[in-house]
């Protein structure tokens, strides 16, 4: 299971990084989202992978999973979700304001040169 988990996390991170380096806003947003999924999986695994383990101490249970990474992932998911929503809106705003979905729009650079 460790190998599968590591492969999936690595693949997600690699695809996220590739997309985040693209030149248009939509792939960048998707890439950052994938990167945050990879982070969530990675954080989840930092306490060690256990199946069928209890997270809260109870009588008669000896097999436990580390509860802290689960709490951390929950926080990371909430923050990541909010940020995805924000960056989608921002990407649409860039499209509306600049009339292009390129991350580095040359036109606005040029108009700045003209002014100075």
């Amino acid at each position: 299971m460790e190998a599968l988990f590591a492969t999936v996390t690595g693949f997600l991170a690699a695809s996220g990084l590739y997309l985040a380096l693209r030149g248009r806003t939509f792939p960048v947003v998707v890439g950052l989202t994938l990167l945050s999924y990879a982070v969530n999986l990675f954080l989840f695994s930092t306490g060690g992978l256990t199946t069928n383990g209890a997270a809260v101490i109870r009588d008669g249970v000896t097999h436990y999973a580390d509860p802290l990474p689960q709490a951390l992932v929950l926080t990371a998911i909430v923050i990541g979700f909010a940020m995805t929503a924000f960056s989608v809106i921002l990407a649409m705003r860039v499209r509306g304001d600049l009339g292009s979905d390129k991350v580095n729009d040359q036109r606005s650079e040029e108009s700045k040169e003209d002014k100075s």
């Binding site: 996220g16 985040a20 990167l35 945050s36 951390l72 921002l90 600049l98 606005s108 002014k115």
Partner: protein, 504 residues
């Protein structure tokens, strides 16, 4: 008064929420709430500085969960100093914003208070995951503040800033995951103990995590290969926001200072002080590049952004020297540079408002309406930021130069002095272009309002005050540096089970 430690977080949170209640209400009550809340924050942080000056490290355990299990806020001299610096800078920015910048978009003051909450939280927390959460709070507020007022330039700079910081947050979490996976704790004091007694098999992994964390803090602090977002973002932000952003790079520097002296400091066994030799060269390169950048800037705001880059290089050189004297010097320099560069952003905005079409660009154009007043501010700001005596920049730089060892002197002295010279040339050139090569000012044009004047006086006027009070302030920074390097006292204050040691 043991709840005092949490007030710098609660106060801005409450006033920020209060301003969300009626989003379209009149602007006057909001200004009043913002000013009162920031002034209260300044009072609280001054009390914290006095409290921390006893030399005792106190902590506040949230929900009374004792460390290393619960989240704690830690008050020592360094964190008290940073919180106090933040609230002073915020007071100047809020005062300036009340002149009308807050009216150009919605919710300026609410977001501003939430950003203050994030910054103060990041300075006070003693838990490394909590540090991440407060980083997110301050970043999310800063995303919206950066684009306050709208405009094409801001939207694009904002998108770059957001995308870069989202990637940075992802790396922060990777680093935290690695640190937690290897040490099994998130409490900084506890982590410093665990790192010293770590299984040698895991050292490589931990080192990778520590370097990843350095990249994240480097991105926030804008070290050389990671600074590209800074000039654009800072020069397109509205003036009061840019002034507050002067503390944002210092949050990154604080992170480096805290983590790499406490967790990976002298007591960390094999990993002791392994980051500092790397940091030294990157910091020097940042310094050199800042010097070149400030000469090439064609816009006053851009120029100030590069001056911030020079100050980041200077501060990080001090961090990488990792001794008591450079730490004390850099803390003094940090107070000076934060306030002055914040003030210069405000000044650049005031100048551009009075020059009409020429704006903040460094070209001969219409003169400003109040050349004597703005010229005086510009003179004080320029002299202090490049480090001319008798202002505070000179004292800070002299302290840092003086603290270098003979082996460090050739690099530090030559680069720091050359970068200062570049700053001097650039400031003199832009000052003479803006004030002397200018035509007649429009005597009917906009003038400084009392609010703007108050903001400028608070931030730029701090420099002469800092030189006059240099004695007491350097005594405090000396003591802070000593406290910072004494990791065992920090760990003991937090981890000893003796409840009397902490404000629980």
């Amino acid at each position: 008064m043991h709840h005092l430690i949490i007030l710098p977080i609660l106060l801005p949170l409450l006033s920020g929420l209060l301003m969300l209640v009626k989003r379209d209400s009149a602007v006057l009550p909001r200004r009043a709430i913002a000013l009162v809340s920031t002034a209260l924050l300044l009072t609280v942080s001054a009390l914290l500085v006095i409290k921390s000056d006893s030399g005792e490290i106190t902590y506040y355990a949230l929900g009374d969960w004792q460390p290393p299990f619960g989240i704690i806020l830690v008050l020592d001299r360094l964190s008290a100093l940073m919180v106090c610096l933040t609230s002073f800078l915020a007071l100047g920015s809020v005062a300036y914003a009340c002149a009308g910048d807050d009216h150009k978009g919605s919710n300026f003051h609410g977001l501003f208070q939430l950003q203050l909450m994030g910054i103060n939280g990041a300075f006070l927390t003693g838990d490394i995951f909590n540090l991440f959460v407060f980083f997110e709070v301050l970043l999310i507020a800063s995303y919206s503040l950066l684009m306050h007022g709208g405009g094409k330039d801001r939207t694009q700079a904002g998108f770059h800033y957001v995308a870069l910081n989202l990637a940075g947050s992802a790396m922060f979490l990777f680093a935290l995951g690695v640190l937690y996976g290897t040490t099994g704790t998130l409490n900084m004091a506890d982590m410093s103990q665990k790192v010293a007694a770590l299984d040698p098999d895991r050292l490589g992994l931990l080192k990778a995590g520590a370097f990843l964390l350095l990249v994240v803090f480097g991105l926030k602090a804008a070290i050389l290969p990671l600074y590209f977002w800074l000039p654009r973002a800072y020069s397109s932000a509205p003036a009061p926001v840019a002034a507050l952003f002067a503390i944002m790079t210092k949050v990154g520097i604080y992170g480096i200072l805290r983590i790499y002296t406490l967790i990976f400091g002298g007591g960390a066994g094999e990993l002791a002080n392994f980051v500092q030799p790397w940091l030294w060269w990157f910091a020097l390169a940042t310094l050199a590049l800042g010097g070149l950048g400030v000469l090439s800037a064609r816009d006053l705001r851009n120029q100030v952004a590069y001056l911030i880059l020079i100050s980041v290089g200077t501060l990080l050189v001090g961090v990488s020297m990792n001794r008591e004297a450079p730490f004390a010097a850099l803390l003094y320099y940090m107070i000076h540079t934060t306030l002055v560069s914040g003030g210069l952003f405000l000044l650049a905005d005031a100048i551009s408002e009075q020059r009409g079409k020429a704006g903040a660009r460094i070209v001969p154009g219409r003169g400003v309406t109040q050349p004597a007043l703005l010229g005086l501010f510009y003179f004080v700001g320029a002299a202090t930021v490049v480090g001319l005596p008798p202002f505070s920049g000179a004292i800070g730089k002299a302290l840092l130069l003086d603290s270098a060892l003979p082996s460090e002197q050739p690099w530090l002295w030559s680069l720091l002095l050359l970068a200062s010279l570049a700053g001097l040339v650039a400031m003199a050139r832009s000052g003479s272009t803006v004030f002397w090569k200018a035509g007649r000012g429009d005597s009917e044009g906009p003038r400084l309002t009392p609010a703007m004047l108050a903001g400028l006086i608070l931030l730029l006027g701090a420099s002469p005050v800092l030189s006059i009070l240099a004695g007491p302030i350097t005594r405090f920074t000396d003591a802070s540096a000593m406290q910072l390097l004494d990791q065992s006292a920090y760990a003991e204050a937090i981890l000893s089970r003796n409840v009397a040691g902490g404000d629980s």
